[in-house]
Symmetry: C2
Subunit: 122 residues, 2 copies
């Protein structure tokens, strides 16, 4: 949640693009270093913070927090806090996020295919 300069060309461009293109809008939601990894892990149900952290190799708590916050804002994950000590918080996909699953599965297949093509060029 580092604030962005509200007057930068960079931000204006991004806004303009996202406004005018549903596709770019969609990809922006799931862009960012860790978002897809997080969403994937949640594909089979709820997980708590520490479970996510432990399953995603290399992520720091800070990054996990930041990306979860954004995903929450975007309405892709739902956050539930249990009033316990020590605290317990879990995350799950929202219904609109679940609609993405079949799409990203195709995209993943495409990725696999493309990767092979690139390995043995011709």
């Amino acid at each position: 949640m580092s604030k962005r300069k509200e007057t930068s060309t960079n931000l204006l461009n991004e806004n303009y693009i996202v406004e005018s293109c549903d596709l770019t809008y969609a990809v922006c939601m799931i862009g960012g270093r860790w978002k897809l990894l997080i969403l994937c892990k949640l594909e089979n149900g709820k997980l708590r913070f520490s479970e996510l952290r432990d399953r995603i190799n290399g992520i720091t708590e800070r990054m996990l927090t930041l990306q979860l916050r954004e995903l929450e804002k975007e309405g892709l994950v739902k956050r539930t806090v249990h009033a316990e000590v020590p605290p317990r918080v879990d995350y799950e996909l929202t219904s609109i996020a679940k609609e993405l699953v079949p799409i990203w599965s195709q995209l993943s297949d495409w990725g696999g295919k493309h990767r092979k093509l690139m390995n043995k060029p011709r």
Copy 2:
């Protein structure tokens, strides 16, 4: 084509993630501020550099060049130089990129739907 530090955690993380997840791999290909816009414009056939530049609001020649170069490297667009003066260069989608079209059309639909949901939250 700004070089990246080969020893940074940032790059190591990216490599690791992309290696281990076809989905992230795929999304990385089309990530970046302008790539999808460019690909969309090429959906209906070849365009030359200046045509792309004029159709993509806000892009600079530098950015267009950079992103086209990456797309070319990734095998998503094909670049053809005509030996003329003044120079003429055109760009078109490769066949693997064309396979993405139906997927991104679904993603675009999802984006539109999601956008509406967000506008009138409940």
